[in-house]
């Protein structure tokens, strides 16, 4: 293990290298470029004996990964925003073909207007594609989770693609200290991929196929079940990772100071860090506030949220994206998950930080205070000229 001060992007590149990926296929897009540039360097210097397929679009990047994975290779790609959207059909494909591709995504706002800054609109709109989704809060978490993602995705009970996201600039271009596990540690944690459900040379086997109403639904149900199993498999894997590296990032819905909290803010990505500081500060003022981080959005931590809901009176959900004609996706899904819970805390949605707008401590504090003391709208946009009801 060594410690380096590196960016979230490099955390991704190092993870891919440590995972000994066979095939990388990627296309450049700001702010993801440093990930693949670093991988290109690793390959050029011989540090990573992988094949880096330089494709002509993200669509092809994902197809190349799927096809390589179908034959049994460990594959990695990285993208962002428009590139991710262009992959959309293939994202569905990777899940349907049960190819455990791992992908780093830098969360960036969607055009038009063009924006290279962060928000979660790009990955949120992939929430229906069958990918496991991890949202990163720090460069360390990005690196660790990417390594775990390979093992999870390839797990025989899972066999699903997984993405690990990081907020544009707030992680992708922010350097901070990161523990890099040793190759021996990683090798112990992440064995070579098992070649199950892959093509075999010389055999009559068609992966993909064509089917009428008689089988399709069952194949979908298998994915649904695999995604359900993902939760427990991941918890096991994280334990194992902790055993080897000493680090555990707290499962699907890590919480902070929620044990005695009456009010909890649900966050994703880097806003969590800032919010943690706010929680500390507000605790100092005597407010019993806490934090729960949606580390995974797929599988959605329904059980964890329900457990949380039994203990608190008020929950705020901070969304860094918005679904037009509905509300923030995290807000809607938290509400949906808690509907069947025995206890119904007050629930409020806050939309903030779109297109790279800072989510400041003041904003988070204001949202929490609002939640604590006022009767605001069910869902509101934070820090527009004027707050407006929007759903």
């Amino acid at each position: 293990m060594t410690q380096l001060v590196i960016s979230g992007n490099y955390a991704q590149s190092y993870a891919a290298k440590l995972a000994r990926v066979h095939v990388v296929s990627a296309y450049p897009i700001t702010p993801q470029t440093a990930i693949v540039e670093k991988i290109a360097e690793f390959v050029a210097s011989g540090a990573l004996p992988a094949e880096y397929i330089k494709v002509e679009s993200e669509h092809s990047a994902m197809q190349a990964c799927i096809s390589a994975s179908a034959l049994g290779a460990r594959t990695y790609t990285a993208t962002s925003s428009q590139g991710l959207l262009l992959m959309h059909e293939l994202l569905h494909w990777a899940a349907g073909a049960r190819t455990p591709v791992v992908m780093g995504v830098v969360n960036r706002a969607v055009a038009p207007p063009w924006s290279i800054w962060t928000d979660h609109g790009d990955t949120m709109s992939q929430r229906d594609t069958g990918w496991i989704q991890f949202y990163g809060e720090s460069n360390q978490e990005v690196l660790d989770t990417t390594l775990m993602a390979f093992r999870l995705a390839e797990h025989p009970e899972v066999r699903l693609p997984a993405m690990v996201t990081e907020d544009a600039f707030y992680l992708s271009h922010t350097v901070e200290p990161v523990d890099i596990p040793g190759q021996d540690q990683v090798d112990a944690f992440l064995p070579p991929r098992e070649r199950s459900s892959t093509l075999e040379v010389g055999k009559a086997m068609r992966l993909g196929s064509f089917t009428g109403p008689e089988h399709y639904m069952e194949f979908r149900h298998k994915i649904a079940k695999a995604m359900v199993r993902t939760r427990d498999v991941f918890l096991e894997i994280e334990d194992d990772y902790a055993r080897i590296t000493g680090r555990n990032h707290g499962g699907l819905l890590p919480t902070y100071k929620t044990d005695d909290a009456d009010t909890v803010l649900v966050t994703m990505g880097t806003a969590t860090t800032t919010a943690r500081g706010v929680v500390d500060a507000m605790r100092a003022d005597g407010h019993k506030v806490g934090l729960a981080k949606l580390r995974t959005f797929r599988p959605f931590p329904v059980q964890e949220l329900r457990d949380l809901a039994t203990r608190v009176d008020r929950i705020g959900v901070l969304d860094r994206s918005f679904t037009f004609g509905a509300a923030g996706a995290a807000f809607t899904e938290v509400a949906g998950a808690l509907y069947a819970a025995p206890h119904h805390p007050q629930l409020r949605g806050f939309v903030a930080g779109l297109g790279g707008r800072d989510i400041t401590a003041a904003m988070v504090r204001e949202a929490l205070l609002d939640l604590l003391t006022r009767d605001g709208p069910e869902s509101s946009w934070v820090e527009l000229k004027s707050r407006t009801e929007a759903s």
């Binding site: 049960r98 066999r159 459900s197 068609r206 298998k222």
Partner: protein
């Protein structure tokens, strides 16, 4: 049923379990007297529905022949005729 399916949609049963005889309206019938064993019919059959007997004469695999009549059309000595199925 779901339990019988593989985890990923991988098909492994060779397609010749599917008989396509019912697609056919006409059936090729070979007049071995005219046949020169030139193999042309075999070569052009899109359904791989022509095999050879022990002495090299073509044999129609009637489970698969769809009756396209290419073999009859391409057979130079006109050894193949298409006969209506009933």
């Amino acid at each position: 049923m779901e339990e019988d399916l593989p985890e990923a949609p991988i098909a492994t049963t060779p397609s010749d379990v599917n008989h396509t005889a019912s697609w056919r309206t006409f059936r090729p019938v070979i007049d071995l007297k005219l046949c020169t064993k030139c193999n042309v019919c075999w070569k052009f059959c899109p359904d791989d529905a022509i095999a050879f007997d022990g002495v090299g004469f073509p044999v129609i695999r009637l489970d698969y022949c769809k009756g396209c009549a290419i073999c009859a059309e391409e057979c130079k000595p006109k050894a193949i005729t298409m006969v209506k199925e009933d």
